[in-house]
């Protein structure tokens, strides 16, 4: 059964019609990549799924429950966690507090501590910066913090919006590895990436969206071989 089903979603920003009949599914335990040009509607799709923007039409089903009109916090409670575009760390909270906020819905203090420690071991740079204010971190460090924060909340489905943006090549590799590990533990992932190559390497399936709708979908292997994808997103061979 699919963890996430998005059906014929429409989103408007005032007069801008950003999504036009967007549909996709994320299966249980899958990593699904979402590719597309700037302005294609990737961020909007994630925002609609996590309840940040209200769709004007369409349906979003998470774990069999309709969450189309649910509030963001209810969606998080259901286990769907969104790492937003542009990192959005809490600037005057320390790194540690940022991570604790990630565990806001977890009542068990010991459990939060355990998860935070795990993030520190996965992303050791954050451990070094434990008491620094989030806003003073370097761009890449902030990106790590944003991902780490989401992991603390213990998601069942993780939405990642361009997690590799601003990361050094070495770190991109390790973040992708991290995503794979998390996925191996049973977390489904919907991954928006401009670094299509890196994304398709770890994804099971992928979609290409243009002008607010999917124009292509298939297994990662198929997409890697598709000439259109290659030309626009992977670089001509």
């Amino acid at each position: 059964m699919a963890t996430l089903e998005v059906e014929a979603l429409d989103v408007h920003y005032g007069g801008v019609h950003a999504l036009r009949g967007m549909s996709l599914t994320v299966g249980e335990g899958e990593i699904v990549a979402l590719l597309g040009n700037n302005g294609a509607g990737k961020t909007t799709t994630l925002s609609a799924v996590s309840g940040l923007v209200r769709p004007t039409a369409g349906k979003i089903v998470f774990d069999g429950a309709d969450v189309t009109r649910a509030r963001p916090e209810a969606i998080v409670r259901a286990g769907l966690v969104h790492v937003p575009e542009g990192r959005r760390v809490f600037s005057t909270l320390t790194v540690h507090e940022n991570l604790q906020i990630g565990g806001y819905l977890v009542r068990d203090q010991a459990e939060i501590r355990k998860r935070v420690d795990r993030v520190y071991s996965l992303l050791p740079r954050l451990a070094e910066r434990r008491t620094q204010q989030g806003g003073t971190l370097s761009g890449g460090e902030q990106q790590m913090l944003a991902i780490g924060r989401a992991l603390v909340s213990g998601p069942r489905l993780l939405l990642l919006d361009e997690p590799s943006m601003g990361l050094a090549p070495l770190v991109v590799a390790s973040v992708m590895e991290l995503v794979r590990e998390v996925n191996a533990e049973g977390v489904s992932v919907l991954l928006v990436e401009q670094n299509a190559k890196a994304a398709l390497k770890i994804a099971h399936r992928g979609y290409v969206i243009e002008s607010g709708a999917c124009v292509l979908g298939g297994s990662a292997r198929d997409l890697r071989g598709d000439s259109r994808v290659v030309e626009a997103y992977l670089g001509g061979l």
């Binding site: 916090e73 998080v76 959005r88 809490f90 507090e97 604790q100 806001y104």
Partner: protein
Amino acid sequence: MSQLIWNGLFVGSFYALVALGYSMVYGIMKLLNFAHGDIYMLGAFTGFAILGAVGGISPGMALPALLGVLVVTMGVTGLSGVLLERVAYRPLRNAPRLSLLITAVGASFTLEYGMRAAAGADPQVYPLRLGGTSAEILGARITLQQIALIIVAVALMVGLNLLVTRTREGRAMRAIALDPRTSALMGINVNAVISRTFFLGSALAGAAGVMAGAYYGKIDFLMGFLIGLKAFTSAVIGGIGNIPGTMLGGLLLGLLESFGTFWLGGEWRDVFAFGVLILFLSVRPTGLLGERVTERV
């Protein structure tokens, strides 16, 4: 000298108590809640009404009775604060932040003149007085009531500070202050947290209102205006959104007023207080304990 300090601290602890609510609300929503002082007024009148309804209270029972009234009043003003936020502020959450200034001033007028319609323009006299036998301590005349009031105030403040800095609720408040959208992505129910913040802040203001009514004895429908202004000032001196800072800010303002009156006379008091405040802020632009925000570029 010690009298000056004591007077300043006592007045200052009232400012601080009202300022705490101001600061919390400001901290979380960046809202200059002009109606906050009027919630204080509402508290004073609520206490007045309850005492009036209960009728004669023997002097021996004054303090326990007052504590009871305090609790009920805090509930009433807390809920009023929540209602205020619901009606006048929440719908404007996404509007430019100064838009809230209009509804806040509107709410302030509504509360003030609503109370005028309900209770009249004449000042009212509290049915229950904390009269004063004073003792001389370290050269200052201090009444037992003053000490009791200060203890209540400090206890409320300390509790609040623990709440904000140590608990997840407090973290959520600070997160919302920084970025409500992302806070929602953390599973924080932004509306509920804001409501609770309003409840707490308004309850504190209500408590201060009852305490002022019982101690000073006179209440009127405009009594919240000036103290609202001073609360705002205290909150800023302390470093907005910072609870211990706000406490210190209130006390400092009280002391400034006390010493300003002494050195320059009553008519120049506020010039002195504001003058020092301006000088101080030009040296420390984020207040006493305000966080130095290093914006990254």
